[in-house]
Symmetry: C2
Subunit: 192 residues, 2 copies
């Protein structure tokens, strides 16, 4: 998606260790008009899929998912990290490793909000090693629901998450796929 690639070139900051900071528009400050354009594009890309629910994970997936969901006219469910005492104990649970935070955490969804009849689109801001998305796929399959696809804002194409999920036969669409980036020159190459 040209608009997102241009925005990454303009406002993204490449840091050592293959870190791409996009917190000025994607995951700390959020440009909801960009999210709206992303929603229209996801709707086009998943037009054939009978999606009735969007699943994301807190915190940075929630904003994108809610704006995208308006294009599909479906509710959003967000998976929570770590147990909250406000939940009933009636939850699907999986474990996800976070490289950003260097720890493993529990990811949970109430059983009330994932059902066997659900056809689910997963939405998240980043796909790198795929841990978060694989955790969400686990939760969906625990409920006997159907994964219709995965919609990602930015995929790090040089990490294996996207390839491994596509090899499982899952329909993955990333609006910008970074092939390589260089924190010294600031150069960034997108997959065409």
């Amino acid at each position: 998606m040209k608009l997102l690639e241009e925005r990454i070139r303009k406002d993204g900051v490449i840091k050592p260790g293959n870190v791409l900071k996009v917190d000025s528009f994607l995951n700390h400050q959020m440009d909801v008009e960009l999210f709206d354009a992303m929603g229209a594009e996801f709707k086009r890309l998943f037009a054939e899929n009978p999606i009735n629910k969007i699943l994301t994970i807190e915190a940075s997936g929630i904003g994108i998912a809610c704006v995208v969901a308006q294009h599909f006219h479906v509710p959003v469910v967000f998976a929570k990290k770590s147990q909250s005492i406000n939940l009933d104990g009636e939850s699907y649970i999986t474990k996800v490793e976070s490289f950003t935070h260097k720890r493993t955490y529990d990811v949970i969804v109430s059983k009330k909000y994932l059902n066997p009849e659900d056809h689910i689109l997963i939405i998240d801001d980043f796909l790198a090693n795929g841990c978060a998305v694989n955790g969400l796929i686990d939760l969906i399959r625990s409920a006997g629901a159907t994964v219709e696809g995965v919609g990602i804002a930015i995929e790090k194409g040089f990490q294996e998450g996207g390839r491994l999920i596509r090899e499982k036969g899952i329909h993955v669409e990333s609006l910008a796929i970074v092939e390589s980036m260089n924190d010294e020159t600031g150069e960034i190459v997108f997959r065409s």
Copy 2:
């Protein structure tokens, strides 16, 4: 707001200890079409305010804030709970007590995204004792920015947060104010 009050009566669950569970439509599963109607109502209520940014707090405020922001054509910034190693160290920080999780945590916003020129609307799902909103007001004032108002989905009118914030002269609008609720009868009374 009639639509929200009716939805709370229909789908809210009152639990002992003055807990109102609205996780089927507000803060776990999220009805984005309801959020859109809430956004239109906040736009009407804050029509006179020169708002250029919305501030919320992770996680359950983010979805509402992003859909509401589309009505104001402004970006959203969400305050993060606890330090993330992806932040630069250049952040405004305050402490917030959580009664739900029975602990105190740091709440932070990058200094890049709060500036003295900003006129900010705070959006959150719940207002009870006011700890989260007061933390966000602290962050805004640390930046020298202006608090234009506070927009809340559900206020627990029998707790003191809303009163104390209004007494500071801040414009608070809650779309539904619960005056009292009874977990045995299921009765709920809204402030008219």
